[in-house]
Symmetry: C2
Subunit: 191 residues, 2 copies
């Protein structure tokens, strides 16, 4: 499918756009191709855009003082990704966003986003619903981190995103769930 | 301060409203008083509203199979609270929202919220910014749960919300941080 259709279908799950309005929306996005392992955002860089994933898989990761990686988010087709804490305060990235496969994403700058909200009022409704569903998904993740055992967290993820396990190294799944690689290998045996 | 002024000041941190527009906004909210320990939302109830805290402190909590409490959120003055996952899908609560002090909150039903977005377009911008900042705050919490030691999580919370430690029992702080009460007592000695 052409990327314009992918984007339109994604937005029209929440709001309806006229052809003219979608034309304005489409022109606000800039296509970006990334090779596997390439960075979309690197720690320390100014963050001024968010990205809609048309094809591929990326991770958002932060590091602790010992250099250990912690994965905040995986992003696949139809997901949005950025370092949102940095984005929201117009600041510098504290997380890396890196391609785990060859990727094709659409970049929406902060300025283009604000202009769209003025030109196409439906987009403000779209942003609001996306932000609320991001908030809800992240609250569920907090709950799962607090409440679930390693085994439960693993099964929940496998259940929600089975394809993640085909596309992402096991080590990264462990860094997302906050469990050790050994624990994950033990769980993986019982799939 | 009268609650109308508190609400107006809160909204006008993000958008500006005319007196007429604020009158419409104010009329959409329903004041609710709660005594300490009273529930705003109980597990199993239909969730159709969110709440702005004018005065008091509440907690949002879920339980595991063993009945252990896990605290998703504390809400104090100027915060919004609900069971947002249930709210977003028009479903039944999987979390309790309970007053930890005598509270005064303003209830905004889902229908009133949608009507406001149509009648006062600035409110849609307000909702969008609030949702984005909720998303960002919750992502930071995920990162802290993954990355920080018990000691670091404790210090971060003490640093961000010092008054929480005066207003909330230590046991609940432990249920929020995902650490044992014993660990918390040990940390608390070194304040």
């Amino acid at each position: 499918m052409e990327y314009a259709s992918v984007l339109r279908q994604h937005i029209e799950e929440l709001v309806t756009l006229s052809d003219d309005a979608f034309e304005i929306v489409l022109n606000a996005f800039v296509p970006v191709s990334l090779s596997k392992k390439e960075y979309l955002i690197k720690v320390g860089q100014k963050v001024g855009a968010e990205y809609f994933v048309v094809r591929g898989c990326l991770k958002t990761a932060a590091y602790d003082d010992a250099g250990k990686e912690h994965i905040i988010q995986f992003a696949m087709e139809n997901w949005w990704v950025s370092d949102y804490p940095a984005y929201a305060k117009h600041g510098n990235a504290e997380m890396d966003v890196q391609a785990l496969e060859d990727c094709f994403v659409l970049s929406l700058s902060m300025e283009a986003r604000a202009a769209l909200a003025r030109q196409v009022p439906e987009m403000l409704t779209f942003y609001e619903r996306k932000a609320l569903s991001g908030y809800v998904a992240t609250q569920k993740r907090v709950l799962s981190l607090l409440r679930n055992s390693a085994k439960e967290k693993y099964e929940l993820l496998l259940d929600q995103y089975p394809q993640l396990f085909q596309r992402v190294p096991k080590k990264m799944i462990a860094h997302y769930l906050g469990v050790s690689r050994e624990t994950l290998s033990r769980l993986h045996k019982y799939d």
